[in-house]
Amino acid sequence: MKEDIAIKVENVSKTFVQHNRGKTIRDRLLSVMKSRNVRKIKALDAIDFEIKKGEFFGIIGHNGSGKSTLISILNQVVPPDKGGKVTVNGTSIRLALGMGFNKELTARQNIMINASVLGMPMEKIKLEIGKIIEFAELEDYIDIPVKYYSSGMRSKLMFSIAVNAKADIFLMDEFFGGVGDKKYKEKADQVFHDRLIKGKTIVHVSHNPGTIEKYCDRVLLLEKGKMVKLGTPDEVLELF
């Protein structure tokens, strides 16, 4: 793979198979006599593209177009169908608001776990945990379980952890900039820009044309699992 390529996607398809044999031992035993009834859903169909290092790459499409499936495949946590290949140069993580928490744990414990998973050494976590808490504006609630948090508080927390993450490639699933009130949003947008996206490879998935137009260098338009268009935001958004 060429040095300046961050992600290379070759002939990637993804088929989800549903069959009537069931997912339990009981169902499997009961369905021995039944004929095998398989339903295949093609979520992605022969996708090919490359993302350059440092590029801000957008993926846009309506609900059910395969965006999130593609992100999981790029992140290498879901394997593509046989014949497809994804090559990733460096480490990657997926960021999505309101995700990545164990709701039984307190915010402080969740910060520790997430920061550790995102590759921060323990010394550094201990040093920076204060900053993360302060930035999330959650000082008073930091030692209560996340299950009692509002969705806004969760988003702030996730965002605050994410800007400290260490990875070469960020896969953002509808994860963007500020959340909460206007003042916080402005502050978050600034930090988002300075710390998270500057000089890094970003894959940004959205069904919102606004952010795509503002940030992306190139955009891929997906429709029912197929590539419709790959080009500049202007060219692609015209078709969306």
Binding site: N75, V77, V78, R94, G100, M112, V117, M122
Partner: protein
């Protein structure tokens, strides 16, 4: 191993331990109270109601049996839904899945070791037992037991991806397994009538733990070593099985 990875495993293990025992009001106390109460129940049932013989050291016999079996059943029960529990991490970043297994089993092992410590304190306070250097044999035995539980955990967690009622079935197997291992009944029966049972690593380990802690005798080296080798093999096979079959964990769970 890379330092941040080791730190991560330790952090996972601590969190797992915390979640299991600090969740309830009684907190960590529950971790000790639970086996203690079970020992009491079995002690009174068996020495007063069933066998009607009053041998006080039977408490110690039960103690080692119940905490050892408890470790195995707790570890395997926890493992079944391990991928589902850690899904919130698995779907966001590609990590070595074995990290989750190592940390979960380390946390249950830690609880087991604390129970063992309680055993020593309890026995010294009330029974005036004899201990010698033979106690170092506990180290390889506990390593073997750990590997066995780890290996079975690899299998269970991976199978659960495809068989979603495995937890119900496993609870029955655990219940039956309890009676195939000399937790309550006399292990001399194994040597007299059912020697083949010693090929079950847990039976071999439990018999040897008692040789050492109750009677201050040499462990049965043949079955101890065999048990450790079997356990190591199961851990390796379980690991390979998990790596090969858990690729679709995120999309199936």
């Amino acid at each position: 191993m890379e330092k941040t990875r080791l730190e991560r495993i330790v952090l996972f293990a601590k969190t797992d331990y915390h979640l299991r025992y600090y969740g309830s009001k009684l907190g960590v106390l529950w971790a000790f109270l639970n086996p203690f109460l079970r020992i009491l129940v079995y002690y009174f049932t068996f020495s007063y109601l069933i066998f009607r013989q009053n041998d006080p050291t039977f408490v110690l016999y039960l103690f080692t049996g119940i905490i050892t079996w408890g470790f195995f059943s707790e570890t395997t029960n926890q493992s079944i839904k391990l991928f589902q529990k850690q899904r919130f991490i698995l779907e966001n970043i590609k990590l070595q899945k074995s990290d989750f297994f190592i940390s979960m089993t380390a946390s249950t092992m830690y609880a087991y070791l604390i129970n063992f410590l309680m055993y020593f304190i309890f026995s010294i306070l009330f029974f005036d037992p004899e201990y010698s250097l033979k106690i170092v044999f506990l180290v390889p035995i506990l390593i073997g037991l750990y590997l066995f539980a780890l290996g079975i955990s690899f299998f269970l967690a991976t199978l659960y991806i495809y068989l979603r009622d495995l937890d119900h079935i496993w609870s029955i197997i655990i219940m039956a397994g309890f009676w195939t291992v000399p937790v309550i009944w006399d292990y001399n029966l194994v040597y007299e009538n059912y020697k083949f049972m010693l090929y079950n690593p847990i039976t071999a380990f439990l018999v040897n733990i008692r040789q050492i802690t109750l009677y201050n005798e040499m462990p049965d080296l043949k079955f101890m070593i065999l048990g450790i080798l079997t356990s190591a093999l199961i851990a390796i096979l379980g690991y390979i099985f998990m790596i090969r079959n858990s690729r679709k964990a995120v999309e199936f769970l």
